[in-house]
């Protein structure tokens, strides 16, 4: 048998396996997606999902729990989509920036109130709760109440939660959990955060 024929046979088998796997998956539902772990890409992958959803003509709701004070490239880009995005930045920066626990708790609670409004908005098909895991980790919000609210959402509503140290009860409730691992980081080589790449 020639090399080409072997390749064709191997790939035909692989295609049969793939096709059979795809055929078994018949359920359609709104997904609860969690991006966690110490590596880069947790929020960035959420913006990629947002772009995909916007391209399908969906309305998307976003609440930023932590990074609100930053001027980010993604925020500038959103202008192109106008009313398709309902974006709220309620965090005032990482908690060590403010050093005021009462203020951080109040900011997290205001952000969560906005999240509840977006979850109830039937014109929205994807809700991104950026850095919610940080607010949960510091117990600024009650994780059981948050998970219960996420589980009580409309069956076709997709939700993405980002931030390192996702709580086990949230992972348990999620449909899709990706852990971003840090294999290599340019900060270790003295390279600074770069405009257009990191913000």
């Amino acid at each position: 048998m020639s090399d080409d024929d072997r390749h064709r046979e191997k790939m035909a088998k692989r295609k049969a396996v793939q096709d059979a796997e795809v055929a078994q998956k018949t359920i359609e539902k709104g997904l609860l997606i969690v991006h966690t772990g110490p590596g880069k890409g947790k929020s960035t992958a959420a913006w990629g999902l947002m772009l995909r959803a916007l391209g399908r003509g969906w309305r998307v709701g976003v609440v930023q729990f932590i990074k609100g004070a930053w001027d980010t490239g993604e925020k500038h880009a959103l202008k192109a989509f106008g009313d398709q995005i309902d974006w709220h930045t309620l965090g005032e920066g990482f908690t060590w920036e403010t050093q005021d626990k009462a203020r951080d708790i109040a900011a997290a609670q205001a952000a969560w109130a906005e999240a509840e409004r977006l979850l109830a908005d039937e014109s929205i098909r994807l809700v991104i709760l950026d850095e919610l895991n940080i607010a949960l980790r510091y117990d600024y919000l009650n994780v059981d109440a948050v998970v219960a609210a996420l589980q009580a959402r409309r069956p076709d509503l997709h939700v993405v939660v980002t931030g390192r140290n996702a709580k086990p009860v949230l992972i348990e409730a999620a449909d899709l959990v990706t852990e971003m691992g840090n294999v290599k980081h340019h900060f270790s080589a003295g390279v600074k955060a770069q405009e257009g790449i990191e913000f």
Copy 2:
């Protein structure tokens, strides 16, 4: 000392450590970024980076080595950015879809020729080589030649390479490598790939 004071003191120390770390990072350079691993989010995080770069007014070049035949939400969304994006889809689907090795090699080489053109285009500040790792894994392209070309790029040009099974020589050459790990996947629960989320 009150709970609030303890919090303030702890966070002030943390802020001092953060600020000192940030101050040490002074190098600015174009980054070679790799998104690899078996989990979701490799291409999606690249689209998030693209959105951030577009928001900064940059031109972005994209070559899709594999998934070209798919009709994706992100492709629809790009219309909003017009000439800011130079997008090329040269792959015809995963290699088990075509089952024709010679055709796949020709497609990979045509995609790489397009990538070289984008790398040389001085109006472009970010180049995304989506699923290049798949073409390298099957040896459709010579990894040493590809890595040499990436290392010879303009010093301020950012490049993102996606796809599982990144080759060690590429990881060695990269500034930032994130491994997307699959903690939990809805396919295992019989849920199908969802429009607006996965494509």
